[in-house]
Symmetry: C2
Subunit: 373 residues, 2 copies
């Protein structure tokens, strides 16, 4: 079972509140999905993610295929049981990682031959194998294996990636069997609006239960991302969820929602957390700075996360300087809490007809133009 219902719509923008329902449970959208690349959201335990209100997380097919191997996870009873996560899981197809992490890749219409970044072993990832792995993982939402063109790329380079993405989408759809798992299509086309529109129309004609916009947040200016979204989203069916892949920079979340996006994922809150960079309403904050040495206030006095309720900036700075694991835990906790809470405020604002206000106030408060991931 996979259902998507829209509850409220914004009158000034394309923002909407919806609900994804699956056999395992449901989540309200727009939603941010914490990234659990290798079957764990880095530094967090499942009960903590639940406590901060995460309903769906993302895991990576590429990484789990290589280690521990999808057969191990199948034997464990699927990824939910393997990692002890009771919420929903979306798996990406491995396409992005095959192109960005592995070496010596050889791309053909058949698939991608690559060498593992772990041990150099050679593998051929095909649309069919990607679907098989995702079915073994047992995620609630699977993604089509796609080719993500780099940024910048030529018109022809992008066109070829779109052609292959569509070919592979058909093969993924054909190979996909799990009735309890929804398979989403992915729109490619770099920053070329005509290619994006063609790709979207083609995918829509194939009929997927949800659509992702891939190949953005790969280095292009924010304005380009917004321009592409403005062109693509109107091509996607109103009644299906839309997922903007790899986006988690707070201003992009707000602008993505305004453009009709329902799902987001990004390593930003977790990676930044392990790095001592904290997300706040007013922009980012580097907790390692000397100015916090004797600052006995919480990270954000208005935040209700575990870190802010119990610890000071001075203490967290000390933990970072001492290389303590708790430093990564507390900052990851705060960052994820911040993004999940922001998404909650956004849903609330859409419901109450005040999203345009929230959007305006958000950008006034967020003084952080330089933070681009």
């Amino acid at each position: 079972m996979f259902q998507f219902r829209i509850g409220s719509k914004c009158r000034e923008t394309r923002a909407r509140v919806g609900e994804i329902r699956t056999g395992r449970g449901s989540v309200e959208t727009p939603v941010f999905m914490p990234v659990g690349t290798k079957a764990t959201v880095k530094a967090m335990a499942p009960f903590e993610l639940q406590e901060m209100g995460a309903g769906i997380i993302l895991a990576n097919t590429y990484h789990l295929y290589l280690r521990p191997g999808h057969e191990v996870i199948r034997e464990a009873g699927g990824l939910h049981r393997f990692m002890g996560w009771p919420g929903l899981i979306l798996t990406d197809s491995g396409g992005f990682q095959v192109f960005s992490l592995s070496t010596l890749r050889d791309v053909s219409d058949e698939g991608v031959t690559f060498r593992s970044h772990l041990d150099g072993s050679a593998h051929l990832m095909t649309p069919e194998l990607s679907v098989e792995v995702q079915e073994a993982l047992g995620s609630d939402i699977a993604m089509c294996f796609d080719e993500c063109a780099p940024y910048p790329c030529t018109v022809e380079g992008s066109k070829e990636a779109v052609r292959r993405t569509l070919l592979w989408a058909r093969r993924c759809q054909y190979a996909h069997r799990s009735p309890g798992q929804a398979l989403f299509g992915i729109v490619q086309g770099s920053i070329f609006e005509d290619q994006r529109i063609d790709c979207a129309r083609e995918l829509v004609s194939m009929g997927f239960p949800g659509y992702a916009v891939g190949g953005l947040s790969v280095g292009e200016p924010h304005g380009e991302m917004y321009r592409v979204l403005d062109a693509v989203v109107p091509e996607l069916p109103e009644d299906k969820p839309r997922y903007l892949m790899g986006v988690g920079y707070p201003p992009n979340l707000v602008e993505g929602v305004a453009r009709g996006i329902d799902l987001f994922d990004c390593v930003l809150p977790t990676r930044n957390g392990r790095n001592g960079t904290l997300l706040t309403r007013r922009g980012r904050m580097n907790i390692k700075n000397l100015e916090y040495e004797r600052d006995f206030r919480p990270i954000d006095p208005e935040c209700g996360c575990y870190a802010c309720r119990n610890f000071t900036r001075a203490y967290i700075r000390h933990l970072f300087r001492s290389g303590e694991i708790l430093a990564s835990r507390l900052c990851t906790w705060h960052n994820l809490h911040y993004l999940l809470e922001l998404m909650g405020y956004i849903r609330e604002a859409i419901r109450s007809g005040t999203f345009a206000d929230l959007r305006k106030r958000f950008h006034e408060d967020y003084q952080d133009g330089s933070d681009r991931t």
Copy 2:
């Protein structure tokens, strides 16, 4: 306020159950103190320590003096507030670390001149400074600054360390002012029973609210440790708590309790945890081993810790191989839970008159002679 009351005694051994009461709260003994060297028990958050029943932890004067500096912690309102720990804290004096971690030390009766292992800066640690730092930290139990002789050492070398330890104990006692903090004396004397007895008698004549046995678990055979305890403990007052420093290897805990010890601390459960070595009733277990690749049982099916209730050996092995923080968290959690639970069983057995049985069964089950920390 600092009180120690004995509740039950074993008839066959020197084991006893007691209670330490302070203005901040109380703990039952015998007790194991998780080590929070730098104001955090590595990989754990305070709420987790509470959940597993830890009532008292240890922190290190040497490390906190160097970073973040005791004045920062004083300003924060003391170590309990700084680290968000509501239970009791024992601070060691820094003596052991000055001798084991720092370089270029110069020991005289005045104190120890050493270079920081962090930045090479020069410092003079004296008994008075150690007390001042511990008072700034605001621990519930402070330790006298002592000289810990290495193992092995000569009769003369140990004698000199005992002489200085006693001299410094007097100065610590004289310098100590905090009424809410108990200052414990430390017995040195290496493996020489006569020196141990002399040192203990001298300290007892000075009158401390508790006594520690230092300079053991530094490489000597277990039999030597037990021989020294058999000689020292009878010299210590029955109505004061006795603390065996640096001991956490499970068989040593059981044997220490049998010899009349009330408090223990060791990095073993936390360090082993971060390393993938797990403590169980049957001995240790290296979760990284290939044999656990598809082992979907908990670490210990009879254990009730968070890790054993929610995750499998296969998953934890995967986390270790992937370098995930959650691996360290889960294994530390399990190890601390194991030791704290063991101490609970020991207290229960002493109360019910079955400690001798527990001791026998423990050694029968624990097949792990090679695990010496």
